[in-house]
């Protein structure tokens, strides 16, 4: 790898940065590093970082990227990390005009990382964080052994997404949990109101006979038990299940440490998952906007060709680059033409709507605002409108799993929008929360699926595998309460040893 400080690309780095800033982009200082195809594949394997904790899943990712190269698919042209300063990688051997496109694209990304509020709590010293994690895990491997650590990381990766994406916005949140010295299984019970029964007697010397210490103790124990049964633990349903496990689960210290590392990294990556469409759309918008002016002559044609490859939108799948970019352009157009506000919302005349143009010129301002405040779900919910769906002839289809037959299900704009929003809200996974750390008073961990958000059934085999991981981390039985397909029953409760369906009492 080489820094391109002294190479011929440096003037472009500076010129494009200047142009971007002049037009309103605001980004962390960004360092570009030129890498070979092999190095790019390795970086892709590591999620953009030069080093990660040791695990074969990174090796598998690396192999898949390399295979992608061979079959001509998905040549990764760029990668950029959310950090301050930011680091971006350029592939050796690419044409200058391609590198320029990537630079413009990268500045869009870094601006997004810096300004979008969903990123504001992420650790900007990310490279250090990953390197430190790698070192800590390797130290543990030296002490405990490769195989054991690998097995444990496998378990941690099964549960890595059991976190609360909204937690970082609460004041008491900590991405990095300090491991408690003696983690309590159950909360302490205060005994201030404890009034034991005492048998009455006349003489003080009779106290020990009538009310021996053992009798008082027995009552105290019963009292504590009774209180315990009533106490809500946790006091409210907890979506950050990993935090709960780290604080209250029965694990060895090194296991707790590794789970904690994986949780911290998960919180770092969460906003990227929540804003993929917007971030890519924003970056494309900027490379297109800047390269329009920057690329000249033949270069322009080559750029245009590459650009169209990036935003190629195959008919039956979703290309986030394309969707995000088109949606940003749609917003820009609407706000330039004044197509917003009460009057606009009230107008139902299609022709009037089509010809609407108040010359408001607020497009650029609006998209800057959107890039600051929205995440994908909000972005889609608010801006995928009738005009957008119809302009792009968007629709929902069903495909029969065995025969492959594809049938159009709906092209009503609200249905399409709602389906899009739902897909990106759920991302195929249920929302789970810890309801109790002492279910059935046996120290069982009870986790419940949020059926209001989505009452879809959960894939049982996968859930069972994950339950095994959770049981290993909690130290006692773990019960998952989910939606059930059985008709007269409301829920299924599954654990590694039991499967029960029942109706919930109102």
């Amino acid at each position: 790898m080489s820094s391109i400080t002294e190479l011929k690309l440096q003037p472009h780095v500076e010129a494009i940065a200047k142009m971007a800033e002049a037009r309103g982009l605001n980004f962390y200082p960004t360092e570009f590093i030129l890498v070979s195809g092999q190095e790019m594949a390795a970086l892709a394997g590591y999620g953009g970082f030069p080093v990660r904790y040791p695990h074969y899943s990174f090796g598998q990712e690396y192999e898949q990227v390399n295979q992608g190269y061979k079959w001509g698919r998905s040549r990764i042209y760029e990668m950029v990390i959310n950090s301050d300063p930011a680091y971006a990688y350029l592939m050796e051997g690419n044409l200058d005009v391609d590198q320029q496109l990537v630079m413009a694209h990268v500045y869009g990304h870094v601006d997004f990382f810096k300004n979008n509020i969903w990123f504001q709590h992420t650790n900007r010293r990310a490279v250090d964080m990953m390197a430190n994690h790698a070192t800590e895990v390797r130290r543990i491997v030296d002490r405990v052994g490769e195989e054991e650590v690998e097995r444990w990381i496998d378990l941690c990766l099964c549960v890595r997404d059991l976190i609360d994406p909204h937690a970082p916005f609460r004041p008491e949140f900590a991405a990095k949990l300090s491991i408690p010295d003696n983690s309590t299984r159950l909360p302490d019970i205060r005994l201030t109101e404890f009034e034991p029964h005492r048998f009455p007697h006349d003489h003080p010397d009779m106290e020990d006979v009538m009310n021996p210490a053992s009798y008082i103790d027995k009552q105290r124990k019963a009292y504590v038990e009774a209180i315990r049964q009533q106490i809500q633990f946790p006091p409210e349903p907890e979506r950050d299940i990993l935090a709960f496990l780290i604080c209250h689960g029965k694990m060895k210290d090194w296991q707790r440490k590794i789970l904690s590392i994986i949780r911290e990294e998960e919180y770092y990556f969460v906003p990227q998952g929540q804003t993929k469409i917007m971030n890519e759309g924003w970056a494309v918008w900027w490379h297109s906007h800047l390269m329009d002016d920057y690329a000249a002559g033949d270069d322009y044609l080559m750029y245009a060709d590459h650009h169209s490859g990036v935003v190629y939108w195959p008919q039956s799948s979703l290309n986030p680059y394309a969707l995000g970019w088109k949606l940003f352009r749609h917003i820009e157009d609407r706000w330039n033409k004044g197509k917003f506000g009460e009057e606009w919302e009230a107008c139902t005349d299609r022709v009037a709507r089509m010809n609407w143009d108040t010359k408001a010129g607020l497009g650029l301002q609006k998209i800057f605002e959107v890039r600051k405040h929205y995440n994908d779900v909000q972005f889609l919910q608010e801006f995928v409108d009738r005009e957008f769906v119809e302009e792009h002839l968007m629709f929902i289809y069903s495909q029969h799993r065995e025969t492959g037959e594809i049938v159009m299900e709906s092209n009503t704009w609200e249905t399409v929008r709602d389906a899009l929003v739902r897909t990106f809200t759920l991302r195929g996974k249920p929302v789970l929360r810890v309801i109790s750390g002492n279910y059935q008073n046996r120290g069982t961990l009870l986790i419940e699926q949020d059926k209001e958000i989505a009452a879809d059934e959960v894939h049982m085999d996968s859930a069972m595998d994950v339950l095994k991981a959770l049981t290993a981390m909690w130290g006692r039985e773990v019960v998952l309460r989910t939606a059930t397909w059985e008709e007269s029953m409301d829920v299924a409760e599954i654990s590694t040893t039991n499967f029960v369906t029942r109706a919930m009492s109102p």
Partner: protein, 398 residues
């Protein structure tokens, strides 16, 4: 002038550990599935000459997710949904017709759901596959005799000579020569110990190759293509068996290896690999003609003192002259390493298998065999379907 750039971590070096670990896991899976590949009738046909591709599932660790559960237990999964664009139409329009089982086409299309069960084409080298074969079937390495040729496996700088390039100069030896000469000429002054080497004193290193004796092998694959042996199952079955045998023997001999294909009906002829895979003609069967041809080829092209010779004959048990065959076989036995007969026939067609098997177990045969290599030079096995492949290969090679 170059800028001082901070040293970058060697990322592709670091990831190699994780990559190797992943490949080890993949190979372990491939090894467990090896018998599945051996009993898969399309596996051999899919492979190229150099690399081997085996499908292994992408290792996706489970997560709690939505998913249709296979309630009916029949593998049907109902429907998946997806987002499309660019097509105008109305609900109910069939955008792409389905293909139904039996029509020869798969139904999997785009829009496959959250791929928990993606399958990846895992690449192995032929050597890696051969290793897995050996491990899984517990095959012993082949005993071999050396061909009399030497091969170069490396070099060492252990030679000494009087002339050479400066870079090969050995200062110590040179000065030593000069010292000896100076003393011999009585010119050596202890108080003023100066030595001046002359041309004859100079000593240089030279390269010497490190060699070792090589061994090489030839395997003869004989196949009956007469009318008694149908094309349908038996040709590809024989070819697939030959693939696995080739793989292992070639691996044992480090690539110094040649396969020879012989086909026969009532007479025999040498054929190409492709012909071995497909050919079938009408006619009667003389298995002896094949073994006679092999004997000729050995005489002309593969002197037994240089070559380790393996012979595998695929037949359906039907032959005119079993005794003649055995006589020829006995004649060439001293020259070969191993003989295997594979009965490729679901239908019992003749006595060849029984006769040869019985003979191979006889005391006379064992004595003859033991005198040459070991008791088990002659092996027989049956191969009725692909299901039999693992046991057949093991029987032939163990």
């Amino acid at each position: 002038m170059t800028d001082v750039t901070p040293t970058r971590p060697d990322v592709d070096g670091i990831i190699r550990g994780d990559h190797k670990r992943y490949r080890d896991i993949g190979k372990k899976k491939a090894r467990k599935d090896l018998e599945k590949y051996m009993t898969d009738d399309s596996f051999v046909g899919r492979q190229g000459d150099k690399k081997v591709k085996v499908p292994i599932p992408v290792i996706n660790l489970p997560r709690v997710r939505f998913g249709p559960n296979d309630k009916d237990g029949d593998g049907s999964g109902g429907k998946g949904y997806g987002l499309g664009h660019g097509v105008s139409g109305k609900p109910g329009d069939v955008l792409r017709p389905g293909s139904y089982p039996g029509s020869g086409q798969g139904g999997r299309g785009a829009g496959q759901d959250h791929a928990e069960h993606g399958v990846q084409q895992f690449e192995l080298t032929r050597d890696e596959l051969a290793q897995l074969l050996g491990e899984q079937l517990q095959l012993p390495n082949m005993t071999r005799k050396h061909s009399g040729e030497m091969e170069v496996v490396g070099h060492k700088y252990s030679g000494r000579t009087n002339v050479g390039p400066d870079v090969m100069l050995i200062q110590k030896d040179t000065l030593l020569e000069a010292l000896v000469r100076t003393i011999a000429e009585d010119e050596y002054d202890e108080d003023d110990p100066v030595i001046v080497p002359i041309k004859d004193d100079f000593r240089y290193r030279t390269i010497k190759p490190i060699t070792r004796p090589t061994s090489k092998a030839v395997t003869f694959f004989l196949r009956d293509v007469s009318g008694s042996m149908g094309i349908q199952q038996r040709a590809p079955l024989s070819f697939a068996a030959a693939y696995w045998l080739n793989l292992w023997i070639e691996y044992c001999y480090g690539g110094r290896y040649e396969p020879v294909y012989v086909l026969h009906d009532h007479s025999a002829w040498e054929a190409t690999k492709d012909e071995f895979m497909t050919a079938g003609v009408a006619g009667g069967t003389s298995m002896k003609s094949a073994i006679e041809l092999v004997k000729e080829i050995i005489k002309t092209k593969y002197p037994p003192n240089e070559w380790n010779i393996y012979i595998f004959h695929f037949g359906d048990g039907d032959s005119w002259d079993i005794k003649g065959y055995l006589q020829t076989l006995i004649q060439i036995m001293p020259d070969i390493a191993m003989f295997g007969y594979v009965q490729v026939a679901p239908v019992y067609k003749g006595d060849f298998y029984d006769v040869v098997t019985a003979w191979s177990k006889s005391a006379a045969a064992k004595k003859l065999s033991a005198a040459i290599h070991n008791e088990n030079m002659v092996r027989t096995t049956t191969l009725e379907t692909y299901e039999d492949m693992p046991k057949a290969i093991k029987a032939l090679l163990s």
